[in-house]
Amino acid sequence: MRPDVIRLYKTLHTWTGIVAGLALFVAFYAGAVTVFQEPLARWAAAPQATAPGVRPADMPALLAAIAGTRPAAAKEGITLHLPQHGDTSAWVGWHEHAGGRDSPEVNYHAWLDAEGAVQIRQQQPSDLTRFIDFIHQRAGLPEGFDAGEWLMGGISLLYALALISGVIVLLPTLVSDFFALRLGRNLKRFWLDAHNVAGIISLPFHIIMALTATVFLLHDPIYGLQDKLLHDGKLMSAWRQPAAPASSGPLPALLTPEALLQRLQEQAPGFSPRDMTWRTLGQPDASVWIGGHDDRFMNRGALGGFAIVSAYDGHLIRTDVMPGHASPGNALVASFFSLHFASFGGDTVRWGYFLLGLAGAFLFYSGNLLWVESRRKLTRRDQPPATQSRSTHLMAALTVGVALGCISGISLSIAGGKWLHGHVDDLNSWHRGIYYVVFLACAAWAQWRGAARSAIELLGFAALATLLIPLTSLLAWALPASGLWFHEEALGVDLTALAGAAALALMAWAAARRAARGPADSVWSLARP
């Protein structure tokens, strides 16, 4: 390719990367954490939150009782959460939007007491993992910020552009760069090699993420325009399910959850159910959405798909979002979703995506470092060390503050939930408050202290914040009277956090060494103020 074209794309790569890089760091770090949302939710769930449970055989009676007093719940759906990872019993809950669709949801939990009367209690399940997923989707922009979706749509386009231009820049030297990791005197060369290798290895992952993220963020306007221009406004009717045949006479009795699951087992042997949601109760088309996954197939959602069966006889009504049973077209769409959510191939793929997500975060971090290093003014011989420009100092401090603010904020939000449980009214607001306060404080700290000093301090802080996750569990295990709790099944979360804390501590040590011994004319040096 012509060198002037390469140069143009190099400029394009630099500027799309620098504009989108920090938002992408947050999105990728939080996204990597979200891959393991199930164990993380388990880690955070207070032991008493799921009691009291319900016996499956009582379910038809309980459903009828709830539907009698809560018509909104009967229509929208009442969910039976099957016992998972050490739960003692299944439990029933639903949510309502008291003030219309956009109002915050209120969660309820119901059971039958000893006399067979329905008991309903408002509850507040931890939405920690949902919040981390939100950080992932909006790069930590505040909730209720309407332009956030458009803004992130723009970021996803910049991401795609950075990806294409990065590949074009790398093409002429692709093979030689891939096998090069020059760890020598020229540290910029080393960072560039590391950036290139991380980019090439995870290129398929990034192509998937750039395209799926663009779809997730911009599908509403695209559907809207396609409906108007191409489908004659028939889009909604293409999605509407055929109406249930009108039936006269009394409705048949509801099947018990056990009978429904047995019927499903006969029809779809590989499907592992997680929860069951009864919808449109009291109607002839009452259905049960059995949420679950089948790791032999691509699952459409992050947690799997749905088998949708009749509430009366358990036959499969719809299979369009069911792994392994969807039509070829729906299966193809499901595979796109699945490639984003890592919902195929079980934990092996999840670990792969977790590492690729962290590698993605590293890609954007190293990209910003390269921007800083490329603007470095060299010290001439026999001259005092060159002073670096204000913009490189600013960008270095911004990169350190945002990246480590995000890591520390997420870690403290996770660990803090356990300490605050039972001591505050609205724990979910605290999860948010902790993240935003820590994030902003770290970003401000980095600007105040400068990149060199704050990199050491904030890496140490992030290591301690992340270490607090396994320490909390250790304390809960050693001192059950502390009011903290420890779930053995979520030990993986503690071990992963421990490894993360160790890695951050190692980086803090390396940053301190560089600040003390590295070249004095660098923004990372502490040699001069």
Partner: protein
């Protein structure tokens, strides 16, 4: 030394970006419409696949638009491509 075959490429950031962003999007939309004509009727899965078609085409145009020698040529060629695609689509929709 032979004279350079091509004039040096112009950057024209604004012109090329807007051409890729706007005309790339409308072109992707038209191509998704043409793909929809391959099968009569519209079901839920097809509607989703047609939507999924748009971002890859759009992003490919947006990434490639900077290869044009200047912004005017980007606008001219992409306008022509749009004209052909939308013309074909409108023709098929009305007389197909």
């Amino acid at each position: 030394m032979a004279r350079a075959k091509h004039p040096p490429i112009k950057r024209d950031w604004l012109g090329k970006s807007l051409a890729g962003l706007l005309l790339g999007f409308t072109l992707a939309l038209a191509l998704s419409g043409l793909a929809g004509l391959l099968r009569p009727g519209l079901d839920g899965a097809e509607a989703q696949l047609l939507m999924w078609m748009v971002p890859p085409v759009w992003v490919a145009v947006l990434g490639g638009v900077f290869m044009f020698p200047d912004g005017w040529r980007a606008w001219a060629w992409l306008s022509l491509a749009n004209l052909v695609a939308w013309g074909l689509l409108t023709t098929c929709l009305h007389w197909g």
